[in-house]
């Protein structure tokens, strides 16, 4: 009885305690369901995203760069299909064996092998190493034949930049190459679209227009497993090729410039005097930008770098030269505008001019005798311009020169290598050299020597603005979205107004007070080329269709000593480095002018002998292509 009693009591205890447990169980299960609810219902989106992030991996492919075309639509920077060889380190079974096999198949150098090993250690195992960026077709076929033995190797067909005209446009376009870390970090667009093996613009327009040219990545989405192995391809999103960019340049003329400056150091610029379109802009010597695409070899690089003619410098924009006598049209114009001289004003040239005990020589030792403005310009009499400069003063001259674009960048921010140059005034000297202006300096400024430094493109623009009747133009190298036609530009200019595409307003761009003064300068330049005793008379073209007006210039690169003046050495007898730069600025045709140009031959000697003859050869081509260009003007409008 007692036993059974205690048994009952025990059962009661068990049941009671079981009840407590049961309640606890329900509570815990409810807790678990709550947790499930929070994960699966409340945070479902978050975890779905995470799950997709887990399983979907994107492979960005290099974007295709936009083409750059010349005014006529010829591709001057395009893309070419190339065959490449990549290694994916994580897929390689035996790296050393693979390298030996590849070395034999492709004839890789020890250096290249060392570089691959270095890359392998630097990159993540799933990043592909580019063994060869540009396989020949036969190499590509060979690799494909042995693919079974080359585990982890991936032959890739891809697209690479190509410059079909080789060195013709190097200084305009620049080139593309592998970016370094800093370049990637500096540009957000590059950062976002970068994939190994991608090339970016390193120089010139390729660099400046990077964000337009770059294009968007094609994206391949793969489902991968936990080990990163691709299981299947989900989708392929096509990339968009970068914008096509049309330049104002004419390949035929650009090519001709290159040929004319062959084996010389110098520059030629050609400009439309109304629209400001740059027709050609060639700096010599040039180099082949295609060399940089797949990594330039050390030998080739040294050859370019050590060339005494300095091919790496874009002389058109970054070369600073004393304008020499090519400045004289501006000096004359400034003097006329300021009413310091008139056409009747004459100076007697005796071959030299004395000032405060200092002698200033004219290039013609015997002197030119009594010269008027026209004759002084025609024969490039230095004495006349010393006197005019003295009467004018450097500050007034500076105002005119700067109005015509000297001392300022011509293409704004398009080329970061472009130099501003310098046209001095008294204030500048005081601020920068801390000394007062000396009258003698005004004299030599009047013949384009001294502190004055100009780029060839500035001289070209200066000439263009004289040629178009004295109106400011805005040079450009890219055909913008709203191109002003030749006729429109000319018409609006002659009405005294110019449509400014930036502010979209008609702006008074007159650079003169009296239009007559421009005419006087133009006539003087015409005389210089087309009349007897003119400095470039020998380079004239009589056919009015091609007839042009110009001004020679010879810029001293060092001070001529008394002894040298007496010796009067021939060009060949002077060391190359000491020879004068030959300059020539011109525009044509003389009736209804259309184009201006500037030519500089470094250490070429006198402008009339070395530079002006080049203009003669070039003008025929330029004028002949005018009609073609006119027809083309509305051909295609590309937005940048």
């Amino acid at each position: 009885m007692i036993k059974s009693n205690s048994g009952i009591r025990k059962t009661d205890v068990i049941n009671r305690r079981m009840f407590i447990i049961g309640a606890a169980k329900v509570a815990v299960f409810v807790g678990i369901v709550a947790r499930l609810f929070s994960l699966q219902i409340n945070e479902n989106k978050k975890y779905l995203t995470l799950s997709d992030k887990n399983r979907i991996r994107e492979w960005k492919l290099p974007p295709t760069r936009g083409n750059i075309v010349d005014y006529f639509g010829n591709v001057i920077a395009g893309n070419l299909k190339v065959y490449q060889l990549h290694i994916i380190p994580e897929q390689v079974e035996n790296f050393n064996y693979l390298l030996v096999r590849l070395k034999n198949l492709l004839d890789l150098s020890e250096k290249r092998i060392a570089r691959i090993i270095k890359l392998k250690n630097e990159l993540k195992p799933w990043d592909s190493i580019i063994v060869s960026e540009n396989l020949s077709w036969s190499q590509f076929v060979k690799i494909n034949n042995y693919l079974y033995d080359l585990v982890g190797v991936k032959p890739v067909m891809t697209i690479s930049r190509n410059y079909p005209f080789n060195d013709v446009y190097t200084h305009v376009l620049g080139y593309v190459s592998q970016p370094n870390e800093q370049e990637i970090l500096e540009n957000e667009t590059i950062q976002e679209r970068f994939v190994p093996g991608m090339k970016i613009g390193k120089l010139g327009l390729e660099k400046r227009l990077e964000n337009h040219l770059i294009g968007t990545n094609a994206i391949q989405r793969y489902e991968v497993n936990a080990y990163g192995k691709r299981i299947n391809q989900l989708e392929h999103q096509k990339g968009k090729q970068g914008s096509k960019i049309r330049l104002t340049v004419d390949t035929e003329i650009q090519k001709a410039c290159g040929e004319l400056l062959n084996e010389k150091a110098g520059s030629i610029s050609v400009m439309d005097i109304y629209t400001g379109d740059i027709i050609a802009m060639y700096s010599s010597p040039s180099y082949n930008p295609n060399l940089f695409l797949f990594g330039i070899s050390q030998d080739e690089w040294q050859l370019i770098r050590n060339n005494p003619l300095k091919p790496l410098i874009n002389k058109t924009l970054s070369g600073l030269y004393s304008p020499g006598s090519t400045i004289k049209p501006i000096v004359a114009f400034s003097a006329l505008e300021n009413k310091v001289v008139d056409t009747k004003f004459k100076v007697k040239c005796t071959g030299k001019m004395e000032l405060y005990g200092q002698t200033f020589h004219c290039w013609k030792e015997k002197g030119h005798g009594w010269v008027s403005l026209k004759n002084a310009m025609k024969q490039s009499c230095d004495t006349y311009f010393y006197e005019v400069a003295r009467l004018l003063g450097v500050d007034r001259l500076n105002i005119t020169a700067e109005k015509f674009g000297l001392g300022k960048k011509v293409l704004g921010d398009y080329f970061d290598t472009e130099k501003k140059g310098l046209f001095p005034n008294t204030k500048w000297k005081k601020n920068n050299l801390g000394k007062g202006w000396v009258l003698g300096e005004t004299l030599i400024t009047g013949i384009g020597q001294g502190y004055t430094q100009t780029t060839p493109l500035q001289l070209c623009m200066m000439t263009a603005q004289i040629a178009n009747g004295g109106y400011a133009i805005k040079p450009k190298i890219i055909v913008d979205s709203n191109p002003v036609s030749y006729e429109d530009a000319k018409q609006s200019m002659e009405s005294g107004l110019l449509f400014d595409t930036d502010s979209e307003e008609l702006i008074d761009k007159k650079l003169f007070k009296d239009k007559k003064n421009i005419k006087i300068v133009q006539e003087a330049m015409f005389a210089s080329t087309n009349e007897r005793f003119g400095t470039s008379y020998k380079s004239r073209i009589d056919d009015p269709k091609y007839q042009f007006a110009g001004k020679t210039g010879t810029a001293q690169v060092k001070r001529i000593s008394k002894r040298e003046r007496e010796l009067d050495l021939e060009l060949e007898q002077i060391p190359y480095k000491d020879r004068d730069h030959a300059l020539y600025v011109a525009y044509g045709p003389y009736i209804n002018p259309r184009y201006a140009l500037s030519i500089i031959v470094e250490h070429g000697g006198s402008g009339s002998k070395a530079a002006a003859p080049i203009a003669k050869k070039l003008f025929k081509l330029i004028i002949d292509r005018h009609d073609l260009r006119n027809k083309q003007s509305n051909f295609e409008r590309i937005t940048v």
Binding site: I14, I32, N44, N54, R55
Partner: protein, 374 residues
């Protein structure tokens, strides 16, 4: 008394079959079928190694459960201590001659399959303690001698299991044992005191933990600490479950498991896969199925005449509950990762064997619920 016993002993086979708990049986069958399908999914939608073996084990152990059920509950009562001792001997054997795998020594090779005795201990300890509390007078429950004895019964196997090392199973054995102590009438204050002692000594216990165990606790506290290392399992498991949503990604469509992001998806993380593919609805459904099983076991305990059967059923129901809670909390990121399988669902022979034997004894208690045991 004897008469009565004999009467019970003379239950015919037909009556035995009739007396089986069919709701429990059907629930177990449902769970088994479900587990085969889930295993099929872990094999990537093919009948491969795991699916095949899991099915074979079910095919062997399910009849074994019925076989166990057909023995009188009195028989199991009588053999409880012996069974406990046999399992202790197996544990001793394993600690000397067991098979080593991934740093621990828990298995013995039985030619047909590899046995993990610690899994059997999860049931054996309940049997042993149920018998002890069945026999002891209620007045003596809190005596020093009995406390010493029951604590020894719990601690001895735990020493062997923890030294394998196998923290997860030791905890489950300890909890299974403690619940019988609780049900058996041990004073509540003892539980409270020992719980406080446990809390105080926790830092010391932690200092004795193996580095990987410590890491697991740290990882549990902050899984993002080392997302690709120790925290990987928890993070991936949460991603899988969370991305399942309301309806799940669909059978065989769980990307997390299919693409191998899930660790140990056949065993401890089987729920994760299930939940990813069948979502919140499926998960709650599975919990309901388990709840039915637990409830049926409790009910069988409640109608049992003998305290042995009652204690065993209540204890075993709690054990099943604890396995589920520990496993789910682990995969849901609510508890640190300790190896503990989900009953029936997880791949693993020993676990299934122990579970099925447990169900068998419960069914035996049902068949013989009128049986009293002296």
């Amino acid at each position: 008394m004897f008469q009565h016993d004999r009467l019970n002993n003379e239950i015919t086979l037909f009556q035995k079959i009739k007396n089986l708990d069919y709701i429990l049986l059907i629930s177990v069958i449902l769970l088994s079928v479900l587990s085969v399908f889930v295993m099929y999914s872990t094999d990537g939608g093919e009948i491969l190694f795991h699916t095949k073996n899991h099915f074979v084990k079910l095919a062997v152990f399910f009849p074994l459960m019925i076989f166990v059920a057909f023995f009188n509950i009195k028989f199991w009562h009588n053999f409880s201590y012996i069974i406990y001792l046999i399992v202790i001997l197996l544990l001793i054997y394993v600690s000397f001659f067991g098979i080593k795998s991934s740093g621990s020594q828990r298995w013995m090779d039985l030619y047909l399959f590899v046995l993990q005795p610690s899994e059997l201990m999860k049931v054996a300890i309940i049997m042993c303690l149920a018998k002890y509390f069945h026999r002891i007078k209620i007045e003596n429950v809190n005596s020093f001698t009995s406390i010493t004895i029951v604590l020894s019964i719990i601690i001895i196997p735990i020493i062997f299991v923890i030294s394998q090392p196998d923290l997860g199973t030791s905890i489950l054995i300890a909890l299974s044992g403690l619940i019988i102590l609780w049900l058996g009438g041990m004073k509540i204050k003892y539980f409270i005191y020992s719980f406080i002692t446990f809390l105080i000594s926790l830092p010391f216990i932690i200092s004795f933990l193996k580095p990987y165990q410590k890491l697991r606790i740290l990882t549990f506290l902050d899984p993002d600490r080392d997302p690709l290392g120790a925290g990987y399992q928890i993070i991936q498991s949460k991603i899988a479950i969370g991305s399942g949503g309301l309806n799940g990604k669909g059978f065989l469509k769980g990307t997390q498991s299919y693409l191998d992001f899930l660790p140990e998806k056949h065993t401890d993380f089987i729920f994760t896969l299930f939940s990813e593919e069948f979502g919140f609805i499926g998960s709650v459904g599975l919990l309901i199925l388990y709840s039915i099983i637990i409830f049926r076991i409790v009910r069988i305990g409640a109608i049992s005449r003998s305290n042995f059967a009652r204690l065993f059923c209540f204890g075993y129901a709690f054990a099943i509950f604890i396995y589920i809670v520990v496993n789910l909390s682990m995969v849901l990121g609510l508890l640190p990762i300790v190896g503990s399988p989900l009953p029936i669902m997880s791949y693993g022979g020993s676990s299934m064997l122990a579970t099925m034997i447990g169900f068998g004894i419960v069914l035996s208690a049902k068949i013989n619920h009128k049986q009293t045991i002296a």
